[in-house]
Amino acid sequence: MSVLPETAAVRWRPRLDDGRLRRRERGWTLSTAVHTVPWLLAAATLIALEPLSFPVAAVLVVHAYAIPSLYANRGALVVRPRDRSGTGPEAMALGLLGDLVGHEARDLHARTGLVLERGALGVWLVGEAGALLVRPGGRRADCWCVKVDADLPSADRTAHLLLALREDEAGFATVANLAFSGAVRRVGRRLPARMRPAVDAARAAALARMSNAAA
């Protein structure tokens, strides 16, 4: 297996593997709890001490909801479509991307703008400025922000990320920045409606994989 050459630019990052990713995911869960629970406790305490403080308690509850929502929104942003270049280059780039993937993935990309790719860490949805990894079981998603520093059509950007992912999945996740980790549904509902079928397909593939592994 080849090692992604871009990992040399992030030497300080340990190469990601399933165990390290799980630890990072637990860190995200803990961080979400730290951002949420104190506000909820404060709201409950206020109500217990003085029911008339309900308006202040409501603000605290909204705050507890808003912070994790902002993080989830940041996660969804990594796969949201960007501005398109001219239609000619885009069509050319789509042709090349189509050559790289199978019929099913090509069809999903045409409908949602995302390419589904099965990997060792889970099922990936590759977009033009990042990728969403649905972990085995289909409940958790990790959103990775990764870019190509070049003026390229959208499909070429996706092809860049797809090829890098195929070269070295762990290296790809090492180079990319983790923008969010949490429940798939939290990311899914912040995506444009036309992209949600890709999340459903990835969840189904991640669930099927878990079932196959258990059988």
Binding site: L96, D156, H160
Partner: protein, 74 residues
């Protein structure tokens, strides 16, 4: 016919084409290949669905060699 393709703002550009038995065409493709690597591109060969391999020498027997720019965390 094998192709050396660079992903760029036009969608992609075909930089060289060769048949494995055509030594002259392979040499021209290898020269174009080295030039692009020197310019900072990485060369990738798709090795079936879900797999790709980075190459540092032109694989004359590959059907399609793709040149891509480096990626970085966003």
């Amino acid at each position: 016919m094998a192709r050396l393709v660079r992903m760029d703002r036009t969608g992609h550009s075909t930089l060289a084409e060769w048949a494995p038995g055509d030594a002259e065409a392979v040499e021209a493709a290898a020269a174009a290949f080295r030039e692009q690597l020197d310019a900072g591109y990485y060369a990738v060969v798709s090795t079936g669905e879900g797999h790709a391999e980075q190459v540092r020498e032109l694989p004359a027997d590959a059907e399609l060699v793709i040149l891509r720019r480096p990626i970085a965390g966003g």
